[in-house]
Amino acid sequence: MKRAALWILVAALVLLVLPQVLPGYQVSIATQILIFGVLAMSIDVLAGFAGRTPLCHGAIFGTAAYVVLYWTTVAGGGIFTGVALGVLAATALAAVFALLAIRTSGVYFLLLTLALGMIVWGVCLRWTGVTGGENGIRGLGRPEMVADHVTFYYVTLGVVAPVTLLMWRFVHSPFGLTLRGIRDSETRMRSLGYNVPLHLFLAFLASGFFAGIAGALYAIFNDYVSPSTVQLTQSVAGLLMAITGGIGTLLGAFVGAGAIILLENTVSAFTARWPIVLGITFIVIMIFAPEGIVGRIRLLRARMRRVSSP
């Protein structure tokens, strides 16, 4: 327990000092990692703890971003109401998706959420009157108070840190344990008297809520949203981050988000072929390391302990 506290202290220190040592552009990459870490965690809540791998979180995330930017530009509303509405919209969308998808599991769940996410993409692309079609919605610029990279980083950190704590509490609560029970054996949980569909519904709702927070942050960060924000690539990238970090490890999401975003930035400096690299990364991870970075480290440590103990 002491060691865990030490780790948290070190991580907090690093995160606080980081923008003071990094140049401006890299601070914005760090901000991006924090935001996508939340998206990846929200996916992990479903994939790692409820055993339902979703491919619709890009759509939920993007819906929040669309609502925030629509509210602040076209409707002329304030930023805080916009964020609240964005998160609300994302949660509502997640509720609809959940009602349709929780009866399925495994590959069916994946396919259904994929198809549902694509509807959102299709609507964003074609409902030009509201979403601006392919042009998307451009914001009016970040609000004055968070205009520079470093301030925005601290604001993001100020949101992401409590959200992370909240999610950590969520998955380790009795509710989270029930979810894990459902993941491992649905029939057992049902015969123990648990309301399995209700638990899955609430887990999906929570997951959508957190993805919405990430999306709202992204809207302010990027100040622009287009159909590419809600498209399948986004859901896939989010899932890949969760998997790269380690499904079911929650905090691995930040490791995965960091790895993928840094890879994207490095690759983009040399070639415009990021989708090919993303695809190959996915293939390689699926074949060689499906348990992810944090998952692999845990496995190795468990093995070492087993070797040294007898």
Partner: protein, 283 residues
């Protein structure tokens, strides 16, 4: 609704059936969800486009498109999927990675322009059906869809190969013990499914054109067809394709901006009552 929309819906359904039947064949018989199916459609279509443009023959284009898709299918099955056999989710996600690579590769080779596969002269122009003039080519697509349905039904239910495939699904071990190389049968099925995607690409590329996001669009339509029809069911794919094709056609006329809802609304509703689709059976 007008006869024109009805015919549009039917012809689109025929194309959807050709593509989705390949998807459902691989999904149902091999238990592999191939999310690269849309990419095979696009790739096959583009190879067919190049071949047809180079030789001036539509048939050569079809052959090239189907061949290319089948070869890619073999490479995918033998080269990559063999490492993750038995892990359903890893398989799906791997094919998703392949889809990204293929899509971007197509962008590198053919560029981002919209391309149209040149159609043969005999199928150009329109013909009179009752009160409307309708493009001949689309009617040809409708006929081809019916032909593919009949051909696949015959293959699965009236030939020895079809019997082997169906038996292999139920009990691969017994079939192997009887001296049949079931892996080859499955590989053949995978090739056939992939080739159908390629065929769809060439056929569809002549009237719907080919562009960088065509692969994910056709994939979503195929998913809808298979989700509605049920896994691995040929009849299900047929009924699903008809439903999706007609809903799409009428949806575009009635509320053009929200046509997607017209398809996926009923799909979602159906799933609430039949999670495995109309003709799906529990595995």
């Amino acid at each position: 609704m007008s006869l024109f929309s009805l015919l549009n819906g039917l012809t689109f359904a025929a194309l959807l059936f050709i593509v989705a039947s390949g998807f459902t064949l691989i999904f149902g018989l091999l238990r592999i969800v191939n999310l690269a199916h849309g990419a095979l459609y696009l790739f096959g279509g583009l190879v067919g486009y190049s071949a047809a443009a180079a030789t001036g023959s539509f048939l050569a284009g079809i052959a090239a498109g189907m061949g290319a898709a089948a070869l890619l299918g073999v490479a995918l099955d033998r080269g990559l999927l063999r490492f993750v056999r038995g892990f359903e989710l890893r398989q799906v996600l791997l094919t998703l990675g392949v889809a990204f690579v293929l899509n971007d590769l197509a962008l590198v080779i053919w560029g981002g322009d919209t391309l149209t596969v040149p159609m043969p002269e005999a199928l150009q122009g329109a013909m009179e059906i009752g009160p409307v003039f309708y493009p001949k080519y689309r009617l040809f697509v409708l006929g081809l869809g019916i032909f593919v349905f009949a051909g696949l039904w015959f293959l699965l239910h009236r030939t020895r190969l079809g019997a082997l495939i169906r038996a292999g699904v139920d009990d691969p071990e017994t079939i192997e013990a009887m001296g049949v190389d079931i892996r080859r049968v499955f590989l053949g099925t995978f090739m056939l499914g992939a080739a159908l995607a390629g065929l769809g690409g060439v056929i569809g590329g002549a009237f719907l054109t080919l562009y960088p996001s065509a692969d994910s669009e056709i994939l979503v339509f195929s998913l809808a067809v298979v989700i509605i029809g049920g896994r691995g069911s040929l009849v299900g794919a047929g009924v699903g394709a008809l439903l999706v094709g007609l809903l799409n056609s009428f949806g575009q006329v009635l509320f053009p901006e929200l046509a997607y809802f017209a398809i996926f609304g009923p799909m979602a509703l159906l799933l609430a009552f039949r999670p495995l689709g109309l003709f799906g059976k529990a595995a």
